[in-house]
């Protein structure tokens, strides 16, 4: 349904991710302003999903910002360029920006290994400033887990995520927060703070079936839209992240 028709029907405006399969799963995209947790173990496509989401936004003239904790910008750019739909001009025009979080820490003078409420507020204000200053409509933090390592108290994590989500949403910015979970565990269902606070949760994982390892994606939660909760198999290609339904005939009991 086109965006205007949705609004007329009382539905929230969508931020089409540009990942065709995911938009289909979400009935048109992420409700604009939602803060979505992309949770998964290593090598399951979290960063690719985020980068593709930002590139498509930038191509649609929405300023997009990637805040990286885990990888330096130069290395990340190597992951961007192989996408067939990536255009160099997006970076030159400032539509697509990459920032290293450690540099932001340095700028803010945050040097402590463990943050308290003051540092949390400082960090959220700095992100809010960046979003406002650059009129950012799509934002990714990769990863929120790395930030949370510095927040020793669950109350601080809750405070950080609540503040961040509220600030981003108030600016009409749709956000993806990457969360790393253990390879073998189903940490997403442990009732963690991040999952409870986020507007949406997308889980990526590995499914082992008769010795084959399939990359999977499942939208567990998304406020503001009806959506499929089925598991899909994904592939990371130069044409972007592709999804097809997981064949049920091959499902294994208790599979991830």
């Amino acid at each position: 349904m086109p965006s205007k028709d949705r609004e007329a029907a009382g539905e929230r405006e969508r931020c089409a991710t540009g990942l065709e399969g995911l938009d289909h799963v979400l009935n048109g995209g992420i409700p604009r302003g939602n803060t979505v947790l992309v949770a998964g173990s290593v090598g399951t496509g979290k960063t690719s999903i985020c980068i593709e989401f930002l590139i498509h936004g930038a191509l649609e003239s929405e300023n997009s910002l990637y805040l990286s904790v885990t990888e330096p910008t130069a290395k990340l750019l190597k992951n961007v360029i192989p996408f067939d739909f990536f255009e160099e001009r997006l970076i030159k025009q400032g539509r697509l920006r990459f920032l290293d979080l450690p540099q932001l820490y340095e700028k803010l003078g945050i040097e402590k290994a463990a943050f308290d409420f003051e540092e949390v507020k400082l960090l959220v204000d700095a992100v809010a400033g960046l979003v406002e200053e650059n009129d950012v409509k799509r934002f990714c933090l990769d990863s929120v887990t790395s930030v949370n390592y510095r927040l020793k108290d669950p109350e601080l994590i809750r405070d950080f995520l609540l503040r961040l989500g509220t600030v981003l949403s108030s600016k009409g910015c749709t956000s993806l927060l990457v969360s790393e979970i253990a390879t073998t565990g189903d940490a997403i269902f442990r009732g963690g703070v991040e999952e409870a606070i986020a507007d949406g949760v997308i889980v990526t994982g590995n499914l082992e079936r008769r010795g084959d390892l399939l990359r999977t994606l499942q939208v567990v939660k998304m406020r503001g839209t009806s959506h499929s909760r089925a598991k899909y198999v994904l592939d990371l290609t130069t044409e972007g992240v592709l999804l097809v339904p997981l064949l049920k005939g091959g499902s294994v009991a208790g599979g991830a």
Binding site: R209, D212, D235, L247, G250
Partner: protein, 188 residues
């Protein structure tokens, strides 16, 4: 060529988005491939996505080369070379799927190639239902065929599913009837 004129005419007359089960005997195999790529796809100006789980794509490519059939618009989804631990150098038009049991990955590679070649209509050849049945149970194979064929149909692509008559079972025949618009038999 063993392909009869009647079959040839039937195939040429197929409307877009058709799904056809092509029943053939083992000794008609290479004739069928040649006919499919050289006459049917070339005449209709189609991009061919050839899913092979019977023999490695390299063997088919060698045969096509010997027959001087151009492969500029032919792409392979090779489900067998990787599992054979084949050391052969891969052709740039050949994409590997780790194992014929990874049916979802076959769908994903087809999707990828369709996106890579958006300007031409496509023919998807599935070679063959019998070799896939060696590695997969009927339940998951039926589900795979049902989703794949309907997806391709919605995109206006032709689908041709090879079935070797010598290796057909009732289950395979039922599966083909369910997903195909027409069943054609070579040499009938």
């Amino acid at each position: 060529m063993a392909v009869t004129t009647a079959i040839s005419e039937k195939l040429q007359a197929l409307p877009e988005a058709s799904a056809v089960a092509l029943r053939l005997k083992t000794d008609q195999y290479f004739d069928a491939i040649q006919w499919m790529l050289d006459l049917f796809a070339a005449k209709k100006d189609l991009t061919t996505i050839y899913i092979t789980s019977t023999i490695p794509s390299q063997s088919i490519l060698q045969a096509l080369e010997a027959l001087e059939i151009p492969v500029d618009h032919v792409w392979f989804v090779d489900c067998i070379s990787q599992i054979m631990m084949s050391a052969a150098k891969r052709h740039p038009h050949s994409i590997a799927v780790e194992s014929p049991t990874m049916l979802e990955n076959i769908m994903l590679k087809v999707e990828y190639l369709l996106r890579k070649n958006p300007d031409r209509k496509a023919l998807i050849v599935l070679d063959s239902i019998n070799s896939l049945a060696i590695h997969n149970n009927t339940k998951i194979l039926s589900e795979f065929l049902h989703i794949l064929v309907n997806n391709l149909r919605s995109r206006g692509a032709y689908t041709v599913i090879f079935s070797m008559q010598e290796y057909e079972t009732d289950e395979i025949r039922n599966m083909l009837v369910l997903v195909s618009d027409e069943t054609l038999e070579l040499g009938e």
